[in-house]
Structure formats: C-alpha cells, structure tokens
C-alpha cells in the first residue's frame, strides 16, 4: 500500500544523494527537490514503479531570488490521494535539464512549453519544435523570464512558417491535407495537417496555441490574488467556473485559508451544473460534426434551462464570477434551490428521452463505434484524463481520487467503459450527466448553513499550492507559488485538454478523413483552455498572411480583373 510515508521512505532509500529536500505540508501533498542530473531515475521510479500519472510540469524563473530556474514535475497517485511535486533547480548559467519524455511520453508538450516560455532546454527530447509561442516570435526571447516585460512587442516578421514536421517514411507517398489554421468544423483556431492516401489517414501533425495570450505572465506582473479568479474563469467558455474554483483551491491551500462549508457546497453545486451543461453541449456538437443537426438543436434546447438557472443564481450565463479566494460571493437562497430542483427534474426527463433515442440509433452507432480508438496502454502513457481516459478503461476521476469541496461527503459512481472508442466516451458522458443530476440533489438536500466567505489576511510568500478538480473534460490542475507583497509569483494552469490533444495522433491512425472531425470532437477539445486565452487585449490582433493555396483564398487580396 503506497501511502505518503511509503513514498517518502522509498525516495529516501533509493535516492539518498539525489534527494536534496523534502516537505509534506499536508497529508496529501509531498514536495521533493532533487538534483537535476538524477531526474530520470526519479521519474522512472515514480512513473513505472509507483504507477503515478504526470499531471503537469512547471517552469518558474527564480533568478532574481536565488539565481535558479525551477522546473517541477507534478505527479498524481490517483488511488492513494497523493500529489507529488518533484522540483529540480537549474542554474541560470546552464539552463538545460535531462528530458524525461522517453520515460513518460505525456511529458512531450510540457517540456516543449517549458523551453518556449522559460528557455530551459530538455536534452534528448525527441521532437524539440516550437509549441506555444507564435511563429513570428523571436528565438531568444523567453516570455516567462522576469526580465521580459508583460507588454513586450516583438518586431514584425513577414514570412512565417508554422513548425510542422516533415513526413516520415510511410507518409512520404501520401497527400497532405491541411485543415486550419481556422478549423472549419469546430470553428476554432487549430492547425491539423493530415497525411492521407485516398480517404485513409496515415499520419497527422498539429500546430496549435493560436489563442495563447500569456495570462500566466499577466499574473506574475500586474494582477493580484483577487483579480485572478475573473481571468481564470475566462480561460474557457464552457468550463470556466472549474478554473476559477481550482485557482481558489490552490491559493487557499498555499495560504492555509479554511473555506466555510456552505461555500464549498455552493462551489460543488455550480461545478456539477456546469458539467450538465457541458455534456449536453458536447452531445449537440457530436451530432453537428456528424451532420446530424437535429441532435444539436434538440440537445441545446434541453440544455437551455440550466443556462437560465445559472443566470438567475450568478448574474451571468457563463462567467459566474462567484469565486474569490476564501469563498463565494453570492448565496444559493432557498428559492433558488427550489428552482434548481424543478429545472433539473424537467431536464432529466428530457435528457433521458434524448439519450435513449440516441443510444438506439443504429446510424449514429455506425459512425461512432470503432472510431478513434485509444488503447488503455496509450492512455496511461500519454496521461490522458477525463472521459477520454475512462472510455479506455483507466479508472481515474478527481472527485474520487483527490476529493475536494463537498465531494468527500457525497456518494456517487464514476462512469467507466472498456470500449476505447468514441461510442464509449459518448456513453460515459451520458452517464455522467445523470450522475450530476443526482449529485446536485444530494448536495441541495444537505446544504450546510453559515458564512460564504472566510476572512483572508496577508498571504505569506514562497508557499506552493496545488488545486485539482474534475472539469467536464477531465482533470484541471492549477499550481500557484505565492510571492512577496501579497502578489502571486507563478501561476500555472494545466487544462484538461492539454494531454488529450497529444493523444489525438494515436487516435487518428488508420481512420478516414470523414472521421477526423468527430475524433477531434470526441476529446471534447477546449482549445482556449489549452492555450489559456484572456479577454483583455491590449494589442490589436495581428492577421497572419499565409501564402499557401489551401483554405485562405478568401483572405487573399483581390488581384487583376476588377470590374
């Protein structure tokens, strides 16, 4: 039984020299600092021996404080309710670390991001291309370093080339089909390049992060603790509340703030309401990608009452603005509770009808079964989360594994399927919607009385906090490191779609072009979550001019022949 003591003693035993420091600020958190040369054996121990799951990696610039960069890897021991943070100190004179991607394939994007934003290179990374910063960003400017101002404007570059890889051996004969940078089906900015032979996909590549706007840099520089929740909830237009709640969870852990029980319950109720609306939205989108607009219209019609409900509770349909570190701003009065129960009753009936009709639909099943397969082994290696993981038989659910807010006191069952295809994920999302209805009813019945907001004093510096919650798409994790003068030093967001997008190439292998939109749609992608969008735009949006023929004929200049 791997408990915190077990892990601690295991680490001390195996890495007596490499382990420089350890602390256990809470029962479910372990922070280690290791020598960077030994990071690979430590990673191997955690990932392969203890079967931990990589949550995220964080790169922090502590050079003004102690001359080092900090690169941390966060692991989760799901069945033991333990989050482990492994930190390595990197001197600013030699900003490299050994790469762990060969041990944990899911660390691929994390290490590329740390290089793009902080400038710490991962030696031995199999695919060191640019990931996060835009194509015209200069090579030697690393935005998250403290010496770069938050409103830095790089010089204009005329000829840009997205960092897409060359075709490998079995893709050389294939046609290249580029879908993007404006992705037509999802109507988002994402650039997929498919290598196709006829209708069959033999390989794929992805260039994303068009919506990356650098909110983490804003946090370090101009925002304070009470302003960040409002930015966090704008990271995503569907799961925004989870982000702001997760951030507040991280700050409350770092500062040792005890949130009143009523606020915890209100937060959990809103999170489940968000899950209901998100899954119904996804069901509609899945229908839309298949050309089945009727499912889109009907499921969104069924979803609309929950949007009206939250508008009455919080003052807005989506950006609830409820969270502040320490509690919530508005109360869930008894009238609102009654209204919630009535709305949910009607919605549950209609959702049952729709789901029953959809499950029995033979043509729908024909399009979704055996499409977009992700084997359980791949799911574990790439560290996917949420319905994508549960559809492949990996039993992880943050509400059960790292219970937070009201969830330790609630009874529910996680949906789990073994099918590994899109049909399995559809069934999981349907089941989760009904579980959410039940959870909301449980919570309203036992809603504790009391205050809504705890007293929050000064927040001590150099504390670390980790918040993890189950967003509709999977686990969403936030990391905060507090700094001097009541200001955060580093905020790192790892949205749920981040590992999922890394799994998409595996899902696309051997599938047809017609399946492509629904496969990407089945992970319920939230590109803005992954790329961390802000609404405050101080610069005008630059329009990129690609000189490729595909797709952008519309934006080409009108040439000769004007009549």
């Amino acid at each position: 039984m791997t408990t915190a003591e077990g892990v601690l003693s295991g680490m001390k035993e195996r890495f007596p020299v490499a382990l420089l420091k350890w602390e256990q600020p809470r029962a479910d958190r372990l922070y280690f600092t290791v020598k960077r040369e030994e990071i690979q054996p430590v990673t191997d121990y955690l990932f392969n021996t203890l079967h931990a799951r990589l949550m995220m990696s964080i790169g922090t610039d502590k050079t003004p404080i102690d001359g080092n960069y900090e690169v941390s890897y966060m692991y989760s021991l799901d069945h033991q309710n333990l989050i482990i943070l492994v930190k390595e100190l990197v001197p600013s004179t030699d900003p490299t670390v050994p790469s762990v991607t060969n041990i944990v394939p899911g660390a691929n994007w994390h290490e590329r991001e740390v290089y793009d934003l902080l400038g710490v290179k991962a030696d031995g990374h199999p695919d060191p291309r640019r990931l996060v910063v835009s194509d015209d960003w200069p090579e030697d400017v690393f935005p998250l370093r403290k010496e770069v101002p938050y409103n830095f404007k790089p010089p204009i570059v005329r000829e840009v080339k997205p960092p897409l890889r060359e075709p490998n051996e079995n893709e050389k004969r294939a046609t290249i089909l580029s879908i993007g940078p404006f992705f037509p089906t999802l109507e988002e900015a994402a650039y997929f390049r498919l290598f196709v032979e006829g209708e069959q996909i033999v390989g794929s590549d992805y260039r994303g992060f068009f919506a990356h706007r650098g909110i983490e840099k804003l946090t370090d520089t101009v925002l304070d603790y009470n302003q960040i929740p409002f930015m966090a909830e704008r990271i995503c237009g569907i799961c925004g509340f989870v982000h702001s709640a997760c951030y507040c969870m991280a700050v409350e852990q770092a500062a040792g703030i005890e949130v009143p029980p009523r606020a915890k319950y209100i937060r959990s109720i809103m999170m489940e309401l968000e899950r209901v609306h998100s899954h119904l939205l996804w069901l509609g989108l899945a229908g839309h990608y298949l050309g089945f607009d009727t499912v889109l219209m009907q499921s969104w019609r069924i979803r609309e009452p929950v949007m009206w409900l939250v508008e009455e509770i919080t003052g807005n349909r989506k950006t609830y603005g409820l969270n502040l570190p320490g509690g919530v701003r508005r109360d869930l009065t008894p009238e609102l509770c009654d209204k919630t129960l009535k709305t949910l009753e009607k919605m549950e009936k209609e959702t049952h009808e729709l789901v029953d009709a959809a499950v029995e639909d033979h043509t729908l099943k024909m399009r979704l079964e055996n499409v977009g397969r992700l084997s359980p082994e791949d799911a574990r290696q790439i560290c996917v989360v949420g319905p994508t993981a549960r559809g492949s038989g990996v039993d992880i659910d943050t509400r059960k594994d790292h219970p937070y807010f009201a969830f330790p006191e609630l009874k529910f069952k996680s949906a789990l399927q073994q099918g590994c295809d899109i049909w399995a994920r559809t069934l999981i999302r349907a089941e989760e919607t009904f579980t959410s209805f039940d959870l909301i009813r449980q919570m309203i019945a036992i809603l504790p009385p009391g205050e809504l907001m705890a007293q929050v004093g000064n927040i001590p510096p150099w504390r670390e906090g980790i918040g993890a919650a189950e967003a509709p798409r999977g686990e969403c994790a936030h990391y905060i490191q507090t700094g001097l003068n009541n200001r955060p030093y580093r905020w790192r967001v790892r949205a749920s779609t981040y590992p999922q997008l890394q799994a998409v190439p595996r899902m696309l292998e051997g599938m047809q072009v017609a399946d492509f939109p629904i496969i990407v749609g089945s992970i319920d992608p939230c590109f803005s979550c992954t790329e961390r969008v802000i609404t405050v735009d101080r610069r005008t949006k630059k329009r990129r001019i690609y000189t490729r023929k595909d797709l952008l004929a519309m934006s080409r200049q009108k040439n000769q022949g004007m009549r």
């Binding site: 037509p184 050309g291 072009v513 017609a514």
Partner: protein, 300 residues
C-alpha cells in the same frame, strides 16, 4: 402547341419556384429543430445577395468560370424533358436515355469545376462525388429502363402514360422505391450529402466559388431538386388522373411539395454516412433495382 407552352412553363417555373421550394424545405428543417426558421422567401434573398456580392476571382481558369453556367443550363435542359401534367415538352424517340445523360451533366460539371479550383478540399469532395455517382446513376438508369420496358417504348410520353393505363405492376413499385432511395443522394441531402456542401471539408467542390458563380451553382442545385422530384412524381406516382391540364399541373406540384417535405424530414433524422457506408448501401439498392428490372422483363 401545348408542348411548347408546357416547355416554357417548365423553364420559367423551375427557375422562379426553385428557391421557394427550398424555402419550404428549410422551414420543415426548422420545425424539426424546434425553432422558428427563416421565412419561405429567404432563399430568394440569399441568392440575390450572392448575385451582387463581389467575385473573389480566386481561380483564373476557363473551366472554373464556365461550369456554373453549364450546370444551370443542363438542369434547365432537363426541365424541358421532364413531363409536367402528363405532357412532355420536348418529346422524341429515345428521349429517356437522353434525359439520363442530361441529368448526369450536373454532377460532372461540379466535379470539373471542383478539380479546376485546385483546392485539396475540392479534390476530396470531387473524389466522393465520383464514387457516389458510380453507385447512384445505375439505380436511376435501371429504374427508368425497367419502366421503359414495361411501356415497350423509349419515349417518355409513353412511359409515363403506362402506369395509368396498364395493370398495377410489381416491377414499377420496386423501381419506384429504388428510385426514391436514390433521390436522397442525387438531391445532395443527408445522409448522403458527403460530396457537396459539407461542413467537414468546407463545402467541398464549391469552396472556391463566390459571388455570381456560386449563386448560379446553388440555383442549379435548387432547380435540380424540383426537376427530379417532378420526374419522380410524374413517372412513378401519376395517380390520381384528372382531365384538364392545369388541374394535372397543380396536382403534380402538390405531390412535389409533399415529396420535398418527406425528403427533408428524412434528411433531418439521420446523421451523415461515410463514403464506404453509403456505397455499400447503394450497392444493395442497385440489387433491388435489378430485381425490378428482371420482373419488368418477365412481364410483371
């Protein structure tokens, strides 16, 4: 004289009323979607808007510029062949086969235009269009030939009179079913609308068209809808038979409207099928049509 009048009526009617029928279909779609939907006249406004929008001139190619006109022209030519109220405007011996060829000109034009545009999305769409054409055209051809065999003549006028005068026949019923199933694909409606106007590959062959050319292409699609539905109704569902010509025309239009509604309802309760699945489906429909043909040869 009546045939000339009916011919003129056909062309004028098809051109002017096609957007109206499309508007009705959009209202049916909206009703199934539980929303109010656009007004029935909306398609006129959309086409009008496209006509005055500037042409992006994205592709400087003769074939690209000429295919919309040929497409519209071929559909109007087919309208001249299609019987209306039992009268075939341009009837001559062997015109059944000519009708089949003229109807195929539309998709071929679309393929040519798509390939001339040079976009990879258009290539994928054209690919699918040709594959669908290979399995759907035989169904239509076989059904029409079976009916011609029953009428012992290749003249359209004789073929459409046959069900009214002769005894009820199994083969025609089976062929009618097969033709109706093929209609869903020829009209480019879900579940078989892979090639044309598909959001996945951004409208496929139509992707580079804009302005007036796009308006003409879209208009030709709407006209094709009416032409084919009229053909189906006149040929396989000629009942009830009434005396005067204007009354027969009105009856046909009512049947065409009912057919349009049915096609749209089917389109809204199915997801889009992939190309392999569609082809498999239509191979079995060809088998059904062949059964009808055999029964027709045997005299049933």
């Amino acid at each position: 004289m009546t045939s000339v009048a009916v011919g003129v009526f056909n062309i004028v009617f098809v051109l002017l009323a096609a957007p109206l029928f499309d508007g009705v279909m959009r209202q049916v779609k909206a009703r199934i979607h539980s929303r109010r939907g656009p007004s029935i006249l909306q398609t006129y406004f959309d086409l009008g808007k496209l006509m005055v929008k500037e042409d992006q001139l994205a592709v400087n190619n003769f074939i690209f510029s000429v295919t919309p006109i040929i497409c519209l022209g071929s559909v109007l030519l087919a309208a001249l062949f299609v019987p209306m109220g039992g009268v075939v405007p341009l009837g001559f011996a062997g015109d059944t086969l000519v009708l089949v060829y003229v109807l195929t000109m539309g998709p071929i034009c679309l393929c040519l235009g798509g390939m001339a545009s040079g976009s990879p999305y258009a290539y994928v769409g054209v690919n699918r269009e040709i594959m669908m054409l290979m399995v759907v055209e035989p169904v239509m051809a076989i059904s029409l030939i079976a009916s011609a065999i029953k009428a012992h003549s290749l003249m359209l006028a004789d073929c459409i009179r046959q069900p009214l005068t002769g005894a009820p026949s199994f083969s025609l019923a089976i062929c009618a079913v097969a033709f109706f199933l093929a209609l869903q694909s020829v009209l480019a409606k879900v579940p078989f609308d892979l090639p044309e106007a598909e959001q996945e590959i951004m409208e496929g062959p139509l992707i580079e068209y804009s302005g007036r050319k796009l308006a003409m292409l879209k208009w030709s699609f709407y006209c094709k809808q009416i032409v084919l539905l009229t053909l189906f109704m006149e040929w396989f569902v000629p009942w009830p038979a009434v005396g005067s010509l204007p009354l027969r025309i009105v009856l046909t239009l009512v049947k065409v409207l009912a057919g349009a509604v049915l096609v749209e309802v089917i389109a809204q309760v199915f997801p889009r099928l992939k190309i392999a699945q569609s082809m498999r489906y239509f191979v079995s429909v060809i088998a059904v049509a062949l059964t009808g043909l055999m029964l027709a040869v045997m005299g049933l």
